[in-house]
Amino acid sequence: MKKLINDPADVVTESLKGFAAAHGDLVRINYDPAYIVRADAPVKGKVGILSGGGSGHEPMHGGFVGMGMLDVACPGEVFTSPTPDQMLEATKAVDGGAGVLHIVKNYTGDILNFEMAADLAGGDGIQVEAVITNDDVAVQDSLYTAGRRGVGVTVLCEKIVGAAAEEGKDLAAVAEVCRRVNAEGRTMGMALTSCTVPAAGKPTFELGDDEMEIGIGIHGEPGRERLPVASAREVTERLTTPILDDLPFASGDRVLAFVNGMGGTPLIELYVVYHELMALLAARGITVARSLVGSYITSLEMAGCSITLLRLDDELIRLWDAPVHTAGLRWGA
């Protein structure tokens, strides 16, 4: 295992400390239980926005804490959901009296821990609503699975919902926006290489020099199919077609196109994929109204990418464009 770390057991805490040192103007960090909270929290009268999950997906979620996005993020161990006590303390830290929205990626562990946290918070008289993101079209959604995983759309939810909260929308309205973003967005990802959980010390899955994995999650879960490596054109096509067919996206739709790097893939390649995506969308008569290209929801050092499409309306565009000031996303401020 080649990583710039010390003891694998300390990587999450040491990385948090580095983050705190670099972004002390934006956030405060509590270490036990661990959460990264907006420096000016709680914001009186504003709905608090909380998200969290396993670590290893940086900049998500801690890098999205700040004005116009998250009020607080709960980091778990690498690829392990955080715990209810963390979420409870974090919820208390950002309750400005208007209640707190929990944005939860759909994994059994995350769901169960967030449910318990919501129960506990309710017990403490804090109004909590939870919205689950489940945008991964690689997983068939049926009664016989834990359902689709929450992936790329989570980043877009956090930005858009954060803006809705800044506008002063109430908890119900903010949760409604979050559900809409999740409902209008779809994602699919692929890997050129596996990733190595520091505590495990070896790659989560083995992939040959000439193989790629299509339909992966963000924890090195095995994907939908393993194929010989292919051109950016073919890869983009394989990721985009299931997305387009699933919603389905139609000619005339306006979308936000998000090409995300998995952690080990450089920008030069992500823009090649974005170029291919533009061609596919143009051919379908879909208008790209907004875009995001970069590594925002990652899987440690995995090489690969995911593509997310979100159907936009005027309100979502306005909320996307609203000012945001976080370590990972910043504009208008």
Binding site: S81, T83, T108, G109, L112, T145
Partner: protein
């Protein structure tokens, strides 16, 4: 009716500590099972959690079974994360909140254990045959109550419970997972024993050992 043995908090503590020793011993084995159909951390999670439980208990054990089991549950919930944390946490919490103020009779124990299992099921929404820990816990609970109902000794009842739990865990091998991470694999989840069911069978086995005649 089974004879009215008195089950003390000390015995319950011995059971929980035995489970901690077992989780440390089976850490690699459980993680290997989880690598096949999950994300390869079940043994790590359970060991991390039970270590924390023992540390907590070593700072002073709660006086009664109710408080004791609630402390165990809360510790697991706050230290494990993932799916197993809240599920095992709920099991112990429910066991504790169902326990009477003073010592337990075997029937009390069976009722508490069944309450714990019910808690896991309502928390995780898993049915039997979904290839989860429920497939080990439910048979154990049923077997213990049935045995006590038939007048078996507490030791014998727990032995039967452990056998049924192990049987249930083995029976998860051919199943297709319908809950948890393993469900993402669909058909590919068959042919592997469920890690959570395996750890749950060990919990039942530890009980049988603790109260063996």
């Amino acid at each position: 009716m089974s004879e009215a043995t008195h089950i003390t908090v000390g015995e319950v503590s011995a059971w929980v500590r035995a489970f901690a020793v077992e989780m440390a011993a089976q850490k690699e084995a459980l993680t290997a099972l989880d690598s096949a159909i999950g994300d390869g951390d079940h043994g790590i999670n359970m060991d991390r959690g039970m270590r924390a439980v023992v540390e907590k208990l070593d700072t002073g054990e709660p006086p009664d079974v109710a408080a004791f089991m609630k402390a165990v549950g809360m510790t697991l919930i706050s230290k494990v994360g993932g799916a197993a944390g809240p599920l095992y946490g709920t099991f112990f919490l429910q066991f504790g909140s169902t326990a009477p103020a003073d010592d337990l009779t075997p029937d009390d124990w069976a009722v508490c254990f069944a309450a714990g299992v019910a808690g896991v099921r309502s928390r995780g929404k898993a049915e039997l045959q979904d290839k989860t820990m429920v497939d080990a816990l439910q048979p154990a609970a049923d077997a213990v109550s049935a045995a006590l109902g038939e007048g078996a000794s507490f030791a014998d009842a727990l032995a039967r419970g452990a056998e049924q739990a192990e049987e249930g865990a083995r029976a998860t091998i051919p199943l297709v997972a319908r809950k948890g991470r393993a469900s993402y694999l669909g058909e590919r989840s068959t042919g592997h024993q469920d890690p959570g069911a395996t750890s749950s069978a060990l919990l039942a086995r530890c009980a049988a050992r603790t109260w063996a005649a």
